[in-house]
Subunit: 119 residues, 2 copies
């Protein structure tokens, strides 16, 4: 399943954050957390899929992953805590953006290795 959607979410993004989606900027992430985040193959799949599409066009539910819904949520939370993705809720959907530039500044080369991997 692949649901894509164009959206203007600036205002809703603010309210989503106010509802409790916490983010961490990559510059605040310890190397251990960054490595743990990308050491999981399901999370690398998510990152590669996000990299291939425009920001904010992929909701969590649109990824075809071989895991339970709870595990899927956990993977996205780990990626958010590691500064790899930004998320915004729109109604029942949670949209994602890969924080490519800022993560690369904090951990030069690491995301490039992930995105270059043959899945």
């Amino acid at each position: 399943m692949s649901v894509r959607r164009e959206s203007n979410t600036e205002a809703r993004g603010s309210s989503a954050r106010a509802r409790g989606l916490t983010h961490r900027h990559p510059s605040q992430v310890p190397l251990q957390d960054a490595l743990d985040a990308v050491a999981d193959p399901v999370r690398r799949t998510i990152l590669r899929e996000l990299a291939g599409q425009p920001d904010w066009t992929r909701a969590c539910g649109t990824f075809d992953l071989p895991v339970s819904k709870a595990t899927r949520s956990h993977h996205f939370a780990v990626l958010r805590a590691a500064g790899l993705i930004e998320q915004r809720d729109e109604g029942p959907r949670r949209f994602n953006r890969l924080r490519r530039a800022e993560f690369d500044r904090a951990f030069p080369g690491l995301l490039a290795l992930v995105l270059a991997e043959r899945a």
Copy 2:
């Protein structure tokens, strides 16, 4: 404890390999194995210490690590299998070399992140 030793181990290195120390070139290492290897803080400590000294001057037993002898051996074996270090036996000692250049060619930036980490 820190024991350093200058050695010329070219010939002995060959016999060490013949005795069964298997190595894997970084170009043959899957990204998963490389990430798993550096995701452990004890292994990153080993890599940083090796980076600060000349090749083949540090034996495994000279690292001050908060782990058992068996766990220590495991960590070195993981680093070797990930293409991060090369090892040679000399009598009772196993000496190490960081494969910095070749690992960096296979996984650009990854080792630099490890070595730049504040322990």
